[in-house]
Amino acid sequence: MKSRADVVIVGGGISGAAIAYNLAKKGVKHIVVLEKSYQGSGSTGRCGAGIRQQWGTEMNCRLSKLSNEYFEKAKEELEYHGDLEFKQGGYLILASTDSELELFRRNVRLQNKLGIRSQLISNEEAKEIVPFLVTDEIVGATYHEKDGHLNPFTTLDAFVRAAKRMGVTYLTHTEVTKINVQKGRVVGVETTAGNIATDTVVNAAGGYSKVVADLAGVAIPTYSERHQILVTTPINPILKPMVMSFSKNIYTQQVPHGSIIMGRSDASEPRDLNNRSSWQFLDEMAKTVTSLLPPLERVRVVRAWAGQYNLTPDKQPILGEVPDVKGFYLAVGFSGHGFMFAPATGILLSEMILKEKLTIDVSALGLNRFSKGELIIEPSVV
């Protein structure tokens, strides 16, 4: 292993891979990405991989818009041999109450102002998009046709392979055990395969973001929560958009492969980094999805699994250098939407590290927003 690097990235998920790729593209020579398990073992390989631009905060809207534009050309840009299974079938987000609809109206206004062409639609219009949708308990919806999905494994693989071609060292089954800091500055990392001297370390450790920040003696306010998801056998295309409801606690989408994936959250989850799935989830998920989309009664569940959401108190990521530790950068706390933000994460972190002008001013997403109490809370999270 290299004993010196310009940048060491802790975590080989989509965030770490996108950051490495962008740095290498800008000419940084010695970049090492360290992944403690296999490629995709973290949240990236466990996620729903939905991409949407319908958000309730300006920052989330901007990050997702930039990322979506990137996804549209990712296969060419990353020169990937395989299929990213990119789909733009839209996201249909359902409102169950008038107050929820009012919130959506505000969200759409914000999105439109930022160039995202989402729209508020009626139940009848929603049924034109998904004819078998049960709208008895729905009062309206929002829709944005550019939202969609990509295969998370191949998308991650595309970033990893492109980064490797440009000289990035991407090591799996190698764990960072310590981040050495001297006089308020990063000087190196210790790993299960030896030490690396470096003055720049990025924490892109997903569900383990807090554990990895601790390795440098830095406290961050992220926490991880188990989220479960299931997939059905592939069937003919019947469901064009992602159907999502915050109040009914469900998101479900048919992916290009034909299978339908669906997930929900559970506020009472223990925060113990457990990745096993439960029967309760299957039971609740089946009830919710079949009451909303009855034809799915006849579809078979193949597998259920779980992964970690790494959350922050305001459900927006933490991006940037730690104020007290020079050279220690955070790309964490994506709160369940780090897959769809990855292109922006890669671009912005590379700009921060190289002290370039930022494509989007994300100074509001720094770690110090928590101590200053400057939180803008994202309301639209499932």
Binding site: Y38, S41, F153, V302, R303, W305
Partner: protein, 95 residues
């Protein structure tokens, strides 16, 4: 279809032995990663058919003995269950 005999290794996801060998040749030598790019052992049978074949191919290519290889995780439910049956709470399924 090509002239040669097309040996299907994963019947659920229709992956051939040649594809598996090609991917191993491209550097996908970690079983977990091979699984995720080719969807082998992610279909209905969760690898009951293909996993031994894939592991044997990996063992031949990498020299790692089969005894040192860990199979992929088997995830619930072990048989495909209709969402409708799950919703009703009745877990009976036809054999």
């Amino acid at each position: 279809m090509c002239k040669e005999k097309r040996t299907v290794a994963c019947r659920c996801e229709d992956v051939t032995l040649d594809e598996i060998r090609d991917y191993i040749g491209m550097g996908y030598t970690d079983l977990e990663e091979l699984k995720r790019v080719l969807r082998i052992s992610m279909g209905r049978c969760q690898g009951k058919t293909c996993l031994p074949i894939v592991m044997r191919e990996l063992s031949i290519a990498t020299g790692v003995p089969l005894s040192e290889m860990k199979p992929t995780t088997f995830r619930p439910p072990t048989v495909g269950i209709l969402l409708g049956d799950l919703a009703k709470g009745g877990l009976v399924h036809e054999e």
